[in-house]
Every structure is written in C-alpha cells, then in structure tokens.
Symmetry: D2
Subunit: 347 residues, 4 copies
C-alpha cells in the first residue's frame, strides 16, 4: 500500500522538528516535504544533527503532491498559509492558535489581530480527540490544541461534564522551558531559568480562552470562573497541571468512597481513549517524556471537599506534535495510535 504523503510548513521550531521526528518513524506515512524560512536550502540533518543523513531538504514551499499538511507556523502566520492548503484539497492540521477559538472576536482580545478568515473558524475542529473524535474524523481542518490547554482540559473534562464540581476552577500549571520555543529570549536563557521556578502571564495567558471554550461546551449552562496560572520550571519537556474545584454537595459519596467513585467516573470517561491513563498515584512528568500519553490522577481533598486533579503530558508530544499526528491518523482513517506507540524514554 502506498504510504500517505505528508508535509510540514515551518519545520524548524520545536513542534515542527518533533513532527518530523514522529512522521519519520510513522509506518503508514511518508514525510516528503518540509519548509523553513531562515534554514531554506539546508538539509534537516544540518540544522538538527540527530536527523542524520539529511534526506530532508528544507524548502521555501511545500511540494504539491502531499495528502496532508501540518502548519507549524507561529500564530498570525498560519492564517496566511492554511486557506491555500485547504483550497488545494489538502487535509490540514494547524498547530498554531489561529483556528482554535470559535469566537473571532477573541483573536482581537488575546492575539491582537482581526481574524482575516473568520469563516474558517466554524469549519475548524478543535483537535482534542478525547472530546471531538468523530468531528476530527470528518474534518478537513483541525486546530491542534495548546499545550497547557490539552493538560488542563483533559484533567477537568470528566468532572465538568458530570456536573460534580462548582464553577470556580483553578488551574496551576508547571511547564518545561521548551514550551517557550526555540526563539531566543532572556526568559529561556539557560543561566536565567535554570534552577528557578516562576509564575508568569498573571494578567491572562492565551491558552485560557481555549480552556474556557472547551470546558463551557461540556458544562451545559454552568458559568465557569477559571483562573489559569502557568509557571516555568527548569526542565526541557513536560507539563504538570494541578486543577482545583469545590465539589457540589451530594454528587459523590462521602469520604474515601467518593474517591473510588471519582476514579470510576474518570476511567469511564476515558474508556477508548488510547493515550489517556487514569492512574492511582500522582504522576511525574518524566513518565511521559517523548510519548503521547496523558496521565491523570483525580482525587479529593477530604478536609475541604475539594476536587484535585493532576495531569501530566509531554508538552511537545501530547501537547503538540504527537497530538497533531493523532489527529492526522483520525482524519485519514488510520489507526489512532499509528506511529505513536513508543513509550516514554525513562529515566
């Protein structure tokens, strides 16, 4: 059987190169075209030596005969690229934020630009397979979720949909530095961020509207008050999200039996989700390093009747390139886990 032909726009960022790594190893897909701006004309192996022999020439434009494209452009860049791909009938997964939000007005609020193709926002499917699998299967454009959003939404979705919590929600996330990207900045300069932890974006982080949008869809009428505070911790990969909300009275049993019910509820919610593991001990981010798994530990602070859910992912895989490939698999009718079965590299 001929392998499906894939291309990546802007391969030289961390999500882009991670896409290339995963597609390079995908048994049913062939990566035939990659583009870059500053690196155009080089081979991928020149810029990223772990790629070795240099079979991939970085060009300025995608080859024309691809079946599926990934846009790894930064936000405000994908809106220029994606419409053309769709016109050419190429199924597209966009890893930027440009098609994640349903409300075009939010782009002005959060990203500072008027969305040039708002009509595409309705067509784009938010690419979280655990919530939107059937829509993704039918989609021609999938907006791959933000890294923080993936961890937070997966941690909270079962509780929100089942209506067991009040609307007051806190998401406290801790991310590795690769989330800040490959562009140089003082915040990701080694000596500045090594051996240090800090909160940032306390005025509001751009992944908040995604988190709200997706949770509100599940909440059926409940008004959510979500506070989301991201933190940088000194590691390369990984996001741990700690989520807090008050339990509604009477929804779960009392005491330790409530914890069992909660576990059951989460396990059932994610039945059939091959990359979500509801675990019975608090997970470490490094158990996801290099893999597409999301580990979720739901529990209850019995002293305060509060739900606490801890989730962890690799921000570049389930929080980026791996999820994009998972979406591609669904869009193309491939097995959902194809090319994504590798375990975490531990320790």
């Amino acid at each position: 059987m001929a392998r499906i032909k894939a291309g990546i726009v802007n391969v030289t960022g961390y999500v882009g190169i991670e896409l290339a790594r995963i597609l390079h190893q995908h048994p049913l897909v062939e990566l035939i075209s990659v583009t870059g701006r500053s690196a155009a004309g080089k081979n991928l192996g020149d810029v990223f030596p772990h790629f070795g022999s240099g079979d991939y020439a970085i060009k300025t434009d995608l080859d024309s005969d691809i079946d599926v494209a990934f846009s790894a452009m930064p936000h405000k860049g994908s809106v220029d690229v994606v419409p053309g791909l769709l016109e050419r009938g190429i199924k597209t997964i966009d890893v930027s934020a440009d098609f994640r939000l349903k409300d075009a007005g939010e782009y002005l609020n959060w990203y500072g630009f008027a969305h040039p193709v708002p009509e595409l926002l309705g067509k784009a499917v938010y690419g979280l397979p655990e919530l939107h699998r059937s829509e993704i299967v039918a989609a021609s454009l999938v907006a791959n979720p933000g890294c923080y959003s993936t961890g937070a939404i997966l941690a909270l979705a079962p509780a929100v949909r089942e209506g067991i919590i009040c609307g007051d929600i806190i998401v406290d996330s801790k991310s590795g530095i690769s989330g800040a990207g490959r562009t140089l900045s003082l915040a990701s300069h080694y000596s500045e961020c090594n051996e240090s932890t800090a909160a940032y974006a306390l005025e509001g982080h751009r992944h908040l509207p995604e988190i709200r949008q997706e949770l509100e869809m599940l909440a059926s009428g409940l008004t959510l008050m979500v506070t989301f505070v991201p933190h940088l911790v000194p590691m390369t990969r990984g996001i741990l999200s700690s989520c807090y909300a008050r339990l509604k009275d009477g929804k779960l049993a009392r005491g330790s039996k409530a914890k069992e019910e909660l576990r059951q509820l989460f396990s059932e919610f994610y039945e059939g989700a091959p990359f979500v593991r509801v675990v019975d001990e608090p997970p470490q981010t490094k158990r996801a390093w290099g893999s597409n798994f999301c580990f979720i530990y739901p529990t209850i602070d019995l002293r305060t009747e509060r739900l606490v859910v801890i989730s962890c992912i690799d921000n570049l895989v389930k929080g980026g390139a791996g999820q994009a490939v998972q979406n591609m698999n669904l869009m193309l009718g491939l097995p959902e886990t194809s090319g994504l079965e590798t375990l975490a590299v531990y320790p």
Copy 2:
C-alpha cells in the same frame, strides 16, 4: 565585645550545615560546638569539603558553655533534646516540627506520636518574625517554621488579617529537591527526579496544620478551608508558592485600582520586615538563592475577582537556617539582619 557562643545539634543534615555556614560568617556569634551521630569524631570539613580547614570537630554532645543552641534533629528527635537545653538555661531554636503546633493532639494526627512534653508547646513561640517578633524577642524556645509554611503564611497573612478574602484558600507550592533532605530515597535519586515535576502528599502534608494554625490566628473568626498541595521541581533550592482565594465583595476598589490597593496593603503589612520584599513583577526562586529574602507578588485575576499571591524563598535559608538565625538575633537582642545581609548568588 565577646561574641555569643552557639551550638548546633545534628549539624549533618541540609538545614544543619546551612546553619553552620551562616553562623560561621556571623559577625557577632561564634559557632563553638556541633554534634552529629554517624559523623561524630570527624571534622566538619571532612564531611562537607566547602568548610575547608576543619576547625569544627563534630562531637556527640554539645559543649556546656554555649549561650544559644539550634536543634536540627528530625521531628520526634527534638523533643528528646530540647527540654534538657532549656533546663540548662540555653536559649533554643528548634528547626524540627516538634514545637510548632499549639494543639498537642495534632502530633498524634500528623506525626504519629503522643507529644511527651506538651507543656512546652505553650511556651514555644512560632518563629515567624513577621508575625511574632515581640514574642520571639522574649522567648527561650522558638519553633522554627516549616519551609512551605513560611512561604505560604507570608503570602497570605496580609490578606487574611485584613479580611479581604473568603475562607476558601488554595496553596500550590513548588519546592526544590533539597527540601527532601540528605537522607537517601528514590524520590530524590537524581535520575528519578531530574527533568520531572510531580505533586505529592495529596492526602495531606504535615505543614498544613502549621499554615492553618497561623492563618486562623489572624483570621479572627473566619473559618478557613485550606487546600495545600506541594510539588517537587528539579532544582536544588527554592520554594515558589502560588496562593489563590476569592476576594470578598466590596473590600477593594474595582479593576486595576484594586491591584494598587492590594500592593499598598501588603507593603504596609511588611513595613519594618527587613527580609520581605513586596515586588511588582512575578518573582523567580533563583532571586532568593542563598539569601534570607522572601519575595511576594500580590495580584488579582480581574476576570474572576480572585486574589493570586506568589511568594518565593530559599527553602534552606528563609525556609530554614536563615530564619532560625533571624530568630536567634531577635532572642539575643542583636540586630535582626546580623549575619544575614548577603544577597542571593545569581545567576
């Protein structure tokens, strides 16, 4: 003027050796006696090469002519040591948890032992100078606060005392690995905890009763519902605490003016506190590395009317040995900052 003579019981843990480092450099105090169990008979410089020439012999018992003693025994160990020191008229700072809680019953709940000298709990002063300065000045026994407790209480005290928040409080703390001590464990084995972040103690961490005790003293009648979740992040030193609570209606102005009022309120609360800095940008833990400073950034999530306070400290200094020396200074009538003026080692 003759320098004050100090001794340290159990110098070989991380707080113990940090006490030795600070006292070694203290201009008004002379460290004349240190004890250890397994290392007895060696010089401090043999066990800790950065101490160099080995002027300090590790013995099994403290010298008799000391003016002030630090007990760096683990919990359940200090209760055996402290009464004898007090009987000999030696002012004592205990860095374990053994004298922090006022309610003797809590020791059974949280530490699994019946407190053998509950009458001392009333005499012991909780050694957070920013809350109990005058009591510390008069104390013969000071219970040095836990590392997490220091960061959390300092972050929340102004808001609790001023009554601007509701009683539902979340403290999400991120600690460096040295907080787990020098005793070997898989959790602090390099390859297990490096490049990883995890939550732990979700059933309840032992610093929670301290945090509640101190905040409730300030809350005058308000029932507090505190959820405290500690996390380990891959760095040696530092604790960042992110604290969340709903603002009470009508206590502060609306909008960005509320942030100014909040800053003002915190600054006034800590006026005269030489080691607390209320800052106007989210702090990084590494700005406290090796110093006794606590940085506090109070702000408001205007979308949800929620107070967010970020604090950071060096867990071994303000969260341990530095605060113990600050307490010693107060107990002995020395300048509060004596021996503690060094800046953070950055980067």
Copy 3:
C-alpha cells in the same frame, strides 16, 4: 512469522528497564518473560508507570521457552545465571562485565573475585558490532561492552588500527548520572550531584581493562599507555568522551589537509556501521538521547600535532540496552537496525 521470544533477567535496573522499552517496541521480537528480585510478583507497570497497562509480570525465574536472554544482573551476578542459560541452548547477551575480559586474572584485579567459569571467557564475544560483527553473528554468548568503553573504543579504534598515533592515550569521559544506576547512593542524590561536575575513580576505573583489551587487539604490537578518567556531569543520560593522542610523524599530511585525511579514514572505518556517524562538527550528547547512535568527531590540534576525537552516545542505549539489542539482532540473523531506528528525542 512467529516473533522471537526474549527474556530479561533482572529488569529493574536502568539497563534492564531500557531493554524492556526497546524490546517492547521491537517489530520482530516479543518480550515474554522478565525477572526481578525485590519487585517479583508485581507488574512492570507498577514499578515503572510509563509501561502502563502491566502486561509484563515480574517473576523470579525466566520462562523456559525463550529463544534469547539478556542478563542485566550486576557484575558477579551474571556468572551465576549465564552458564545455565547457555546449557539450555538459549542465546545470551550479558550486560554485566562478567564475560568482557579475556584474561580471567583481571577479574581478581579489577572486580575482586576469582572468575568461576573462566572457560566461558574464551567463548564469549565482546559485543561491539563495529569491531566484532562476524564473531557476534556466530556467538551464543555476547558480553555487552561497558558504557564508557563503547564511547572510548569507537572514538579511538580507527586511529589505533591505522597506526597513526603514538601509544600514549588519554580518555577524558563525562557521563550522565544514570550511569551510576538505580541503587541509592550519596553520589547520585539529587542535591549532591546536581549543578556539579567531578572526576572520580582516579585510581583506575573498571572499564579501563576493556578499553585496553580492545584497543590492543587493533594495535598490533604497539604498547598502549591509556589513562582513562571518568567524570560525572549533571544530566540524566549521555556520555561524551574526549580522546587525546600524539600523531605519529609522517602518517598524515600536514595542516588542514590532515584533517580531511583523518575524516576520510574514520568514515571508511565505519562504512557499513549503521549506528556510527562521523560528523563534521563537535557533537552534543543530547543529539543521541534515547537513540542507538554514536557520533564521532575526529580532528587535529594543529598547534601540537595531536589527535583529538570526541564521541558521544546515550549511555543507556548504545552504551547499554540498545547495543545489547543490536547484538541480539546479529546473533539471530535479524536486520542489525531492527527495533533501533528511532531518532533521538530532541530537545
């Protein structure tokens, strides 16, 4: 085609669990049996949560119907296990040092025990495929090289065999902490080794006799004087070896042309070696993270006419489990790269 059945003795160390990870993903092999001592009775996924669902039960003994076995016992432990495996006709790869040295007397010198089955030392093949491929193909017992040895021998073999260097050789190696294993020790306690670099084993490291043995085989008469100094650097995985030796007069051209000749010589030596990449820029260890590749950068310090070769590997893959699987592939007639084609996880 039926997949080959493999077993691992002592799966719970870092090389053992890395073997399990690679074999789990091997397309032609099925891991059907794993043993452990303290963890016997548990599932692999209980001890190592990234393994997930727990299809692997840890037992005390290997299943009887395996085709190939890996012994991941520590040294002095494999000698008890391997003879029995061979008697049962099971092809065996031993990752300990117990069968690496040809001279039984060296075990007394370096490992402090009289080798109990010295007759097997002659039958065992030193499992460095780049030097012993045809012998490995025919072997029933392969002794998998030490992690440092792999990096050092691969860096030096071309120059030694071609006779372009004098016998005075220095190998200065820098290893990540996982090389120290999963057993707890102060040297691998996070707060002790993080943010620190140190040399160790200056009296002689146990990988030295391996390095000498293999290089002397290539040196045909030249007496080698090898100084090998290992260092620990604060990272989980990776070994970088910097190797130094004086060039013999007249063997290479003068000046920068000599560098070209040298590159050519190394490239030819490793032609047909699928996991060695002779590169034209100094490599970083992280470019090998999680992969079986060895990167080698040979150059000349023209000011002193000295050969300098830098090699890097992932100590747990090419320096351990990956190389063991490469050996297995050769022993079983499988493609050499089968199950080992994944790229490094970068960044």
Copy 4:
C-alpha cells in the same frame, strides 16, 4: 575610616553583576558608581531584582571621585575605557582579555584586532595572585585572568615550576553555561544546552595563549605543547579542569610514595595562598559555588606514570569577579581575603 570608593564599568553582564554583589558586601569598600549601556537610567534592582531596593543608579559614565575601577567591558571594549581611567589616576582591574597577553601580536591572532595601546601591555600585571602577588600589589592596572585560565594555570603551576613533568600537556575543562555570558545565543538557550555536554572551540580557544604565557614563564626553557579543550556542561556555575602530563623520570619517588611527594609539593607551592585548597579527594565544582576558593587535587596514574591534576572553581568568582576583588584588595593594601570570606552555598 573612610571606605574606599569603587566603580564598575558595564555592570550588566554576569561578571559585572557578580562584582556588584561582592562589593556590596565588602566591609572596606563602597560601590558608588556603576555604568551600563542598554540599562542606563534604571536602578540595579530593576534589572537584577535580587539587588532589591535600588540604591545603585546605572549611569552612562563613572563618577569622578572613585579610587578604584573595574572594567567589565567585553574584549575590544576595555581598550577604549582603561587608558582614560589610568590617566585619571584610578587603579584599574580589567576583567576582559584586553591586557592579559604580553605579546601585542597575539591580539591579532586570537582576537582579530591590532591592539591600540600596546605600551600598556607591559605595565599591566596578569592578575593571578598566586603567581604575581607582589607585582599586583604595586600595579595600577591588573588584567584579570580568564576563567578557564585560572583553573588550568593553578592546577599546573606547581608541576611546571618544579620541572617534574614533560612539556606535553592536556587541559580538558568543563564549564557551566554562565561562562557563555548573558548575551543570548542558541548555545546557551535552555532547551539546547540542558541535559547535554559538548566540546567546543577545538580550533583553539582564546584562553590558550594566556595559559601558555603563564606556564612558560614558570617553565624556564622547557617548550610546552599545550592542548586545551573546553566543554560546556549543564550547570550554571563552575569549571572543572582535568590536566594531564607525563612525569619526568626520576623526579619523584616510585609508587604511592610519589603521590605523597606530589601532594607535599603542591601544598608548599600554595602555602600562604588563602584561596587555594590542595585537597585529598577529587573535588566537586559545587563545593566552590559562590565562593572564591580553588580546590586542587593532584594525583598520579601509576599505570602510566602520568600526572593528573583536577582543579575546580566558581567561574564567576575565582574565575572572574572574586579574583578581581582579590586583586583590588592587594592593589589597595587591604587584607587579601577582605569581602571574600563567604563559604560556598551548598548544596
């Protein structure tokens, strides 16, 4: 007694800010003036929050009434600043390379510019107090050594001066990332250098001519062939240098007695050097973190009759700002250790 008035040109790099930290705490010196380019107009505490209250205004020019100045300009920048300071009679310590080399021609070779004031090269004293204390005492211009040079020269000086080694020397150094400075670069971008080790500058590093110059002064006629290879390891601070040379026959006793003689020789060489500690176990870089100490461990590889010396320093203190202050103390007649007595911050 009036405190000496000091100024720093270009305080905003890592050596500059470390100078400010040390001088801020110096009991006999007052830092009264700091300059910066991009940060001019701000307070030091705005740019470096650990400095706190902001008593230091960053200006474009030094105040006129200073007694001593530090130039923390990059190389090629100090030559523009230093002559003017000297003309104004201000004792000057230059932390750049601009006055380290005696041979003006070397600046063209290594730094790519013709030295504009070669006459000052003869007046400048190379600021390694352990070799040039008396000259420093009398100097008006001191060229502070490079970080690598400090570690390498201190490790080798005793052996070179005593003539116990052959001239073939290898220096393999491992540096923390802060050595690469505060200027952004891909090489010090967190995700690129974290969890990775690499060699660099294999064509020749700029600290090599310093190392050669100083060792040749001690070698009295011996031609030295020094190969110096620097490496970056993932830690913020610290340099470990591993130095190798063949012992000359007959200079030391044979066997383990030779090691004692060697230790003795090193100890005597550094008698009276308050910041050098000849130790009897291989040192870790973190034992120097934040302190001005250099730890030196000399030993012999008895199998090959090779001298091996391991040294370690904090690259920003003894390898930079601390040594500069040590030089200042000597130039001004202050106690050599004044302001530099703090121990390492460990762990």
